[in-house]
Symmetry: C2
Subunit: 338 residues, 2 copies
């Protein structure tokens, strides 16, 4: 009988998340029922949204139940199938969670999707050509909807979402400004990801300094902002918005631990006639086909070369996840499971 390692949410964070919130267990993989598929996960995706799920309170999605396998995107290979739609050896993307194997109902729509790795490496289906890439697409194309020549800004610029955002925005003729932590990430943003400028938030650690840096980086003002972070960076960006600027709110990492994170000057919403919109990409499945097609082409043609930080083995997932929340990763954070 195949053994499976799983990581469960054992208890909820009191403030900052810690490794002891998680628990690693060994279980047996159950025998397949008719229609089911056994997937061996090659990579587990770690994403900021998971922190929100760890809370009991109303977050931007349902809570992760205690004592169950942590939710998470996975790519892998079909190793056993009792479903004619899936054959052993098929490469698939799904929401397998923090575990080595998952048993999936192959008939449930959307749970498991076969992918082609001819031009796109398997792991990228968890990043640039997966949920993070589509997230960037929705925020940019559907909310910010930039015209060529407009200036757009993204925080967490070198992450999976930020990388895809840059490529998509450059393809639309925008000036693209990133915000990231540290000179290495900023250099990577401009040299490899196509950002016109990248601002180091560690060198601009309050609203005044950040607003000054943004003024220099965005001489024509800001027309669109993709928010991954929240806090003083958002305050500074709003100060530099042009009339009718659009703000897509995708994440507020800094607020997940429950620290109060007020917006200092909401009157700017009126003064600059801003549109600010929060979204969860899983609620907009209608954009996925177009988004994945464009993102796959950008990766296949080398216009989007996303970097990955890969932790080894399931047991390394909690530490890697906590590092992600602190910006320790470089590009997309994955856990390699085989």
């Amino acid at each position: 009988m195949t053994q499976n390692q799983q990581i469960l949410l054992d208890n909820r964070p009191q403030g900052e998340a810690v490794e002891s919130n998680f628990r690693l267990v060994q279980t047996d993989v159950p025998a397949l029922q008719d229609g089911e598929v056994l997937v061996r996960h090659h990579y587990l995706s770690l994403d900021p949204y998971m922190r929100g799920r760890m809370n009991d309170s109303k977050s931007y999605a349902a809570s992760q139940p205690l004592g169950e396998v942590m939710i998470g995107g996975t790519v892998g290979e079909v190793v056993e199938s009792r479903n004619p739609k899936f054959a052993v050896g098929d490469q698939v993307v799904g929401m397998g969670g923090w575990q080595q194997y998952s048993v999936v109902d192959g008939n449930a729509p959307g749970l498991l999707r076969k992918v082609d790795t001819t031009h796109v490496p398997l792991s990228h289906y968890l990043g640039a050509v997966g949920m993070p890439g589509v997230t960037a697409y929705y925020g940019l194309v559907k909310i910010i909807a930039p015209k060529a020549g407009e200036t757009v800004v993204v925080s967490a610029a070198t992450g999976a979402v930020g990388s895809a955002f840059a490529a998509l925005a450059k393809a639309r003729g925008c000036r693209v400004v990133g915000i990231a932590g540290g000179p290495d990430k900023c250099r990577y943003a401009t040299e490899e990801l196509g950002f016109d400028v990248c601002i180091d938030y560690r060198e601009n650690a309050d609203v005044k300094a950040m607003a000054r840096a943004l003024k220099e980086a965005c001489p024509d003002g800001i027309d669109g902002y993709f928010e991954n972070v929240g806090g003083y960076i958002l305050d500074a960006v709003l100060l530099r918005t042009n009339a009718f600027a659009r703000v897509a709110v995708c994440g507020m990492i800094a607020g997940y631990d429950g620290a109060p994170l007020p917006l200092q000057n909401p009157a700017l919403i009126l003064i600059n006639r801003l549109k600010i919109e929060g979204f969860i990409v899983s609620e907009h499945m209608e954009v996925w086909p177009d988004a994945l097609k464009e993102l796959g082409t950008l990766v296949g043609t080398g216009k989007l070369r996303p970097r990955e930080t890969v932790a080894q083995g399931l047991a390394a997932a909690p530490a890697a996840f906590l590092g992600l929340l602190k910006g320790k990763n470089f590009g997309k954070q994955l856990v390699k499971l085989v």
Copy 2:
């Protein structure tokens, strides 16, 4: 030669606006040039947006220049005309400013509009069937875009905008909840303006109390909010928003004096996938014809019976305006000039 009284902006407010910011002067009405029209103002409109114009800083419109006649909407009668489009006796609405007479270029598009007072009293063209009414229309119809059965909330509920908002929202089958100051205004809101419930903010003077009152008034949550005020009321409303709620930001009276007015929990934008949009109605002239038609019908058929507070004589305008900013008026604040 006809004498004209004018009120100029003499100096800018330091914090709260005061009467000495204004100055009353006497001038002669100049002789008309070809194409010009002389309008005798019957009513001057006082509106919260004027406070923003008094500041030198970037506000939600251009600054009012010092030493010039205060900007303002007016209705009146043509008393002299050198333009074939306008005859003596025509009733007109325009932006005549804080003065008894104005000389208007009758050929400039949009500056002067003839109105019909058969079914709608002249003064209402400054309120329900004018800029405030169209403001309510734009926020409700174009930003909130409610479905029948949804719950919408408006602050400053008994003002010119709030009154029109209630009638427009009831016509769309919404549950309409108002927020106003004091039992008289709240009673007026439910008994005469059609609000289902009106919450007295004086009885609910902090975010916790207001959130509790909103929970009771909106048992199905809040789907749309029309923001005239800002501050703790906005914080409380956001706590009660449903997923995909829309917030139209039209005013932030509490913030005009420069007091910091942070939004306590912007993470709710993400958690509830809110859309928050600021607007100025004069930038959306395309909606005016439809809006004025519907508003005129609502007034003409008695479904919208706006109340007015009328100050007598131009010299009374500054005090009436300062009272408006403190919510001392009841319904639309006007100054009667003849």
